[in-house]
Structures are given as C-alpha cells and as structure tokens.
C-alpha cells in the first residue's frame, strides 16, 4: 500500500526543510525525504553518531536549530531515503524510493523538489589521484565525521568555499600547505558592496583569511591547480598563474602535500526536476543549466514546485527563504491562503539572493580555466576518457552531450555524467564556437541513484508475470 500525503518534499536542506515546515504550518500533511539520515542538507550536514561531543560551529548550530524545528513540527521525515524515479499521475505524484535495500512508493498531491547542488571541478592532470577531494566534498567530511583529508592539504578553488575549507582544516587540527584560488583580490573588492548586506559573513571570511596569513600559509590569488603528482596518493600539487580570463599563463610551481581539496563552484542538481517534466534553461549567473520556474517556485508542471540551489545557486540564506516561499506556494496550490505571507517574505528573499549571487559570481569558472584540461587529462572519471579522446569525438561530428555520451560512454558510467557533463558541454561549445546555452546536458534518465536489482525485484512471484499476447509470428 502506498501512503498518500498532501505534499512530498525531496531534499531536507535549508530550502526543502523550510518548504516542508511552511506548508505543514498550514495544516497540510507533508513528508520530507532525504538521502542523508538527518536533515540539514550539505550546508548543515549533521554529525555522525560517532561524534559524541564537539565544539559548535555556525553550520552545526543552524543545522541543529533546523532539526529541532522539524522535530517539533508535524512534518513526517524519511531519512536514508533515495528517490530513484518520479512519475506524474492524474491526481499528483508517485515517488519511487529506495530505503534499507527495498523499493517503496509514496504518493503526494503536490511535489517540492529541493535537491540542491553538486560541485564542478575543472579536470586537471592527476585530479583522479586518491587524496584529491572535491572542495564541497571535503566539507561533508568535516561536518559529518570531523575528519581531515590528510596531514598536509592544499586547498584550491573559487569563491568563499576555498577559505571555509582551509579554516575548517585548521580548526580540526590539520595543516594547510597552501591556498590557491583563481579569484584575484580585485574580484573580492568588487563583490564587497553586495557582501555588506551580511556583515557577519563578511567578518567571518575576513577572519579566515587573516588567520591563514598570520599562520604563514601562502595564499596564491589568481592561480589554479594545474597538476596533481603522486602514484596512488597525492605527493605534490602544481599550480600556475592565471590571466584575467583565468587562462593559465606562466610557469608551474609546486607544493608538497598529501591531499588536495579542489572545486570550482556549484552546479544545480537538476535531474530530479527533469524527470518530473520541467524544461531546462541556461542561466550562467545562477550556476548554468536550471529547471525553468516562475514566482515562488512554481513551474509549468501542475503541482510541481522547485526551490533552493537546485533552482539556481543563491546560497543557504536565500534557500531558507526560498523554501518558505515555495512551501507556501505549494500550500496555496492545495487551497491554503498564503499570498500575503509570501508577499511579506519576498523582499528578504531578494536581499539574501543578492548576496548569494555575488558569491556565485565569484565561484563560477571563467572560460580560460578549461585550458587546464590537457589532452591527457581524464575528463570522464568513470570510463577514464581523456580530454583528447573527447575532443576527437567532437571533431568527428559529435555535436551534443548526448552524442558524446553515446559514442564514448562519457556519462554512461556509474556517476551518470554528474562529474563530466559540464566540462564536455563546454568543450563542445568551445570547439564549435557555439554558446553554452546551445549545448544542454544529456537527457536525464532514472534511476536518480543506483538501485540494486534485488531491491527492484522485491518479492517477485513468477506467476504474477503478466504474460502478453504472443508477438506476431
């Protein structure tokens, strides 16, 4: 039997959790699903059960408060739950779930998708070496397990995240061998006006940088990691200066390290929205390809609503308010009166979004960064496909991400293209002198996450097999 609720929310980060809370306050039955065991999303990821006590951080405090609010609410929470397929029915939605090795279904009249983001990492030689973690990936390790990537870590990437990761490594007792960021000091100065709306965050960031400087950690502004050396594990990290377009110029230098955190901004995770039937549009200022949505998270698909970084990278503060707006909009769809409440929230959302988009602008890679991917660099990690092989396929006429996927398997591996498709799309656009907006990601396919055959098969009884009319002879 499948349970039928008013609203299902996929993703329990700041956006999804607040959407669930807002809708629930209007008396609607809401189920909040997340693949992590506890709510919080990536930004407020909860500590594992192995951590009995640890100093509080702004992230752990915000996550703790959110979890407490959910605890005190009527929102039903389903943790450790992966949604693998989304289907629209006449009267709502069916979500196909994977929980504890089994598949099950949940039905809802309305659906809110808040699947957040994943990170973009520009492929460089050696980035597949064990000991290289994503920059956002490293934060998951810090927040959940309070574990460091190694003894001596190079931290490299764009936007504020690079300094957060460096500071967390130092807070958790590790050594930062160097910070390498494609942003110049001037980029940050230009972002200052937008940042003044959040003096708390500005101050926190300034502390991180000052701490690194006091500790004598070299900060290489307007540089990028160009190679990772090491046999089976990271031994050294090479880096090069960049020009204004972030094209590497000048000679490579090296830093000895046993680990590297590397990231170049976030990408909205759009696959769930695509399976739900939303068309994508290209909005580089919000992270690239996004599901198309209107005011307060509504979409052209009836009963479907989107919020948070998965609908455009605007950061956690904006996601909280976006989630509330979207939850209220979904509640309105089911008959609640929420228009005035939403009108009151919108100015706050706009302010938070302005700050978040300034951070996105700092984090988004500029064109030249793609030159770090040499012909020998692995671009598709799953299938070990190099930049040269992919460039040759494009030169032979494969003019879409789907064509490259079909011809080479770039995107057919275990990750489903999550870590190569953006780089591949940019290679196609550059090679054919087309706009990135003309090269969409490959067609999204279920399952959204790998599902064991045993779970799909369930308690199969052979006699239940619906035997069709034999095919014509």
């Amino acid at each position: 039997m499948t349970e039928h609720v008013d609203i299902a929310v996929i993703g329990a980060g700041p956006a999804g959790a607040n959407a669930a809370l807002a809708a629930s306050r209007h008396g609607l039955s809401v189920t909040l699903l997340d693949e992590q065991s506890k709510p919080g999303g990536q930004v407020w990821r909860a500590r594992s059960a192995a951590i009995l006590d640890a100093p509080s951080t702004p992230e752990s405090a915000a996550g703790g408060a959110l979890r407490q609010r959910l605890q005190n609410s009527a929102v039903a929470r389903l943790g450790d739950t992966r949604v693998w397929q989304i289907e629209r029915t006449e009267d709502g939605w069916v979500l196909h779930l994977l929980r504890q090795g089994r598949v099950e279904q949940r039905r809802a009249r309305a659906l809110v998708i808040a699947t957040g983001a994943r990170e973009f990492v520009q492929p460089v030689p050696g980035w597949t070496t064990p000991g290289v973690l994503g920059l956002a990936g490293a934060t998951a390790l810090f927040k959940q397990d309070l574990t460091l990537p190694g003894q001596r870590t190079v931290v490299s990437g764009t936007g504020p995240l690079v300094f957060f990761v460096a500071a967390e490594i130092r807070r958790l007792g590790g050594e930062v061998a160097g910070v390498i960021t494609p942003n110049g000091r001037g980029d940050w100065l230009r972002a200052l006006p937008a940042m003044l709306s959040r003096p708390d965050l500005l101050l926190r960031g300034a502390r991180w940088v000052a701490d690194l400087m006091l500790a004598g950690v070299p900060i290489h502004w307007r540089h990028a990691v160009s190679t990772v050396a090491g046999d089976g594990r990271v031994a050294a990290v090479g880096f090069r200066p960049l020009d204004a377009d972030w094209s590497p110029v000048g000679a490579e230098r090296g830093i000895a390290a046993d680990s590297l955190c590397l990231g170049n901004g976030l990408i909205p995770a759009v696959e769930a929205a695509e399976l739900a039937g939303v068309a994508l549009e290209h909005r580089p200022e919000l992270g690239g390809w996004l599901p198309r949505r209107g005011a307060d998270g509504e979409t052209e698909v009836p009963g479907l609503f989107l919020c948070g970084d998965g609908a455009g990278i605007r950061g956690a503060a904006a996601a909280e308010i976006d989630g509330r707006l979207t939850g209220l909009r979904a509640a309105q769809h089911l008959g609640a009166e929420t228009a005035s409440e939403r009108a009151a929230l919108r100015p706050r959302y706009a302010r938070a979004a302005r700050f978040g988009m300034a951070m996105t602008a700092l984090s988004m890679p500029r064109k030249g960064l793609a030159e770090l991917t040499t012909p020998d660099t692995i671009v598709c990690r799953c299938e070990s496909l190099t930049g040269g092989v992919i460039a040759a396929e494009i030169a032979a006429g494969a003019g879409s991400t789907n064509a490259v996927k079909s011809g080479l398997r770039a995107g057919m591996g275990a990750c489903g293209g999550k870590f190569c498709q953006t780089a591949v799309a940019r290679m196609i656009a550059a090679a054919e002198d087309r706009a990135e907006a003309e090269v969409p990601p490959p067609t999204a396919r279920p399952p959204l996450r790998p599902v064991p055959v045993s779970a799909l098969a369930g308690e199969f009884d052979y006699s239940d097999l619906p035997i069709p009319k034999p095919a014509p002879l």
Binding site: S400, S406, M412, P450, P452, V453, S454, A457, Y462, L473
Partner: protein, 365 residues
C-alpha cells in the same frame, strides 16, 4: 540560398543512413536530415539484440541478411556473435517455444533445442528452473549506442551531406520538393521519409496519413559485474532480453512499456515496467541480484497494424518514398536500407519490398 540535392532523407537512423549510403554508391547526391543527432532514436536506444529467435517468420530472410550486415560492420558497432538461448519456465511457455521456434527454423534460422545439461555447461549461472531452452548460434548483439557515431563516420567518409539538430517543419511540392528546416531551406528532387516513430507527423507535412503507431520499449543497464553470462538470453514470452557486455555491464530489455508519445519528445520510464523486467532478469540469472541498475531509458518502436514494414513509394506523392516500421528494425535496418536504395535507383531489389499502399488490415504479405 537553398541547396539542391537528388534526394532528401528525413531521419538519420539506421534505415535513413543505410539508404543514403546505397544511393550515394549508385551515383545520387543525397542529404540526410535529423531533428536530433544521427542514430539517437530507436536506432540508438534499443537493446542491440541481434536474435533470429525473435524475428518474424516472413522477415527471416531479411533478418539473416541483416545479421551478415552487422557482422561485416564488426567492431565499429560493437558486434558480438555469442549465440543465444531462449528460456521457458512453464509447460505453457515450453509449448509456445517449441511451436514458434519450429516455424522459425523452417524459415531458415539455425535454431535447435538444447538439453538441460548442455544449457548448464554453457551458462552455469542461469537458474535451474529452466524447463526448455532453444539455441541459435547466429544470435548476438551490437552496441546500439554506437549507431550515431558509426553512420556519422560512414556518411562523412562517403562525402554525403547531413544535418543534425535540423528538424523539417514544412515540405512544399515544387519541381521536386522544397523543405523548410531549422538549418535553412533545402531543395531535393526526391524524398525519403525514414523518421521511425516520427513518420506520422513527417508524412502529414505532405498530407499523407500513415497509420503509424509506436510502442515505448524500456531498457535498463547495470554497473559492471564479474562474468555472469556469455550469451544473449531471451524468454519464450519475449518479456526478457539480457546480455552482458565485454565491459561487464548487463543490458536488460524485453519490450516493457514506458509512457509518452514521439510527438512529446523522449518517452518516460515507468517504474512499474522496470521492476518486473528486472525481477524476471534476476529470476533467470539469480546472481544479478547484487548488481545495481545505473540507468533505464525508453525508445519508440514504430509499427503499422499488420506489423510488417513500410518500404516503397509513398502513396499519392510522386518521387516520395517511405521506409520504417520494420519489426526487428535494428537487425534488418542496414540490409533493408540497401534494398530501399536500390529501389529508388530504379534497380530490382534482391528481396521484395513492402508496399506502403497495401491494406494493413488484410493478410497481404
């Protein structure tokens, strides 16, 4: 400036491309147009099974020729002749299998029945619940994902013009045909419609109503697994096709239906089809239980009410032709494309074509 060609082929799947290749060899100057990428419709998303055991009796001569065509294409299309087993688990299925395979063997397919011991020796990981199994050594598979890459290369090597992401939005009769496309106007003396599941809307541009419908077949693939099976595995009811690729992934199909229409874009996977499809696969091959499914997708398989091909002159439109709706079209496509090319060139095809003007509700084939 509109460009002029001897023939415009609408649809860059196997059939359109194979016909264009034959036409070019015969001295014509074709252009191939596709609304998306070459070979990304049914040609590129089917399960790649090349099995004589599931071909229609009257299409067997075409399927045998098709097998040879795939074998000749070889490595470039991921061709593997593995032999195939079709399994029956119940008395009823065994009866059905015996009856049908006898007819197919009579039509020229080298199909025989194997003993339980032979089956176990060849496929030790299969379930012990098999009641009867037929075998065909000619069976195998190719990698349908490579269709686009392969034909793009063939067209380029042969200097044949093609346009991808170039939907045709209008066709006017002129001296020949004037096509309005996303890539600009194109003029052609002749026209071949080879748009697969999209034949109906394309023919409608010429005012012709083709009774083309589409099935929405589902295929799933697992992560890489240790060796589990070396053959193409089928099921007497047709509800399962399964093969393990050289990279270890296992591809599972069987005609389970998804949702959607060709007009509305790509179809959607229905979980209610994926689950029993994979359950049946696991029933046949228990070790599959531990594999994780990475991807499921659908493809549109076009047909007309008598389930025989449309291959010949388009009724009522001079110099226009149609090719499609071939049951087993992946297997037969490269061959019947050549026949179609011969027909358009005014040559006698090696095997007869299938008149699109026939009465689809009568037994005319």
């Amino acid at each position: 400036m509109s460009q002029e060609f001897d023939i415009a082929v609408i649809g860059g799947g196997i059939m359109g491309c194979a016909t264009a290749l034959r036409l070019s060899e015969g001295g014509m100057r074709p252009i191939v147009l596709d609304q998306g990428d070459l070979g990304q419709g049914a040609s590129g998303v089917n399960a790649g099974t090349l099995s004589l055991q599931i071909k229609r009796v009257k299409l067997m001569p075409y399927a045998l020729k098709g097998h040879h065509a795939w074998e000749a294409m070889g490595e470039a299309v991921g061709f593997h002749k593995t032999g195939g087993y079709t399994l029956a688990f119940t008395e009823r299925e065994a009866g059905l299998l015996h009856e049908r395979q006898a007819l197919k063997a009579g039509a020229g397919a080298p199909i025989s029945f194997v003993s339980e011991r032979e089956l176990r020796a060849a496929e030790p990981m299969l379930t012990r619940k098999v009641l009867a199994a037929s075998h065909c050594p000619e069976d195998g598979y190719a990698n349908s994902s490579l269709t686009g890459q392969y034909y793009r290369g063939r067209l380029r090597d042969q200097g044949i013009a093609y346009r991808e992401r170039c939907p045709v939005t209008a066709i006017d009769r002129d001296v020949g045909f004037a096509l309005t496309t996303a890539g600009g106007p194109i003029r052609a003396r002749r026209l071949l419609l080879a748009a697969g599941a999209w034949l109906k809307p394309v023919a409608a541009l010429l005012g012709v109503d083709l009774p083309v419908r589409a099935r929405i077949n589902t295929v799933s693939v697992t992560e890489r697994m240790p060796p589990l099976t070396a053959s193409v595995i089928g099921h007497a009811t047709g509800l399962l096709t399964m093969k393990q690729k050289p990279n270890g992934t296992v591809l599972v199909g069987g005609g389970w239906q998804g949702r959607g229409t060709p007009q509305a874009g790509r179809g959607q996977v229905s979980a209610d089809s994926v689950m029993p499809n994979l359950a049946l696969a696991q029933y046949a091959l228990p070790a599959l239980a531990r594999a994780r499914v990475l991807r499921s997708w659908t493809g549109f398989e076009a047909n007309v009410p008598d389930f025989y091909p449309l291959a010949g002159a388009l009724p009522g439109v001079e110099d226009a032709f149609v090719l499609g709706c071939v049951r087993g079209g992946y297997t037969i496509g490269p061959y019947i494309g050549g026949l179609m090319g011969d027909f358009i060139l005014g040559r006698e095809p090696e095997l007869p074509l299938f008149d699109p003007a026939r009465d689809f509700n009568e037994d005319t084939i």
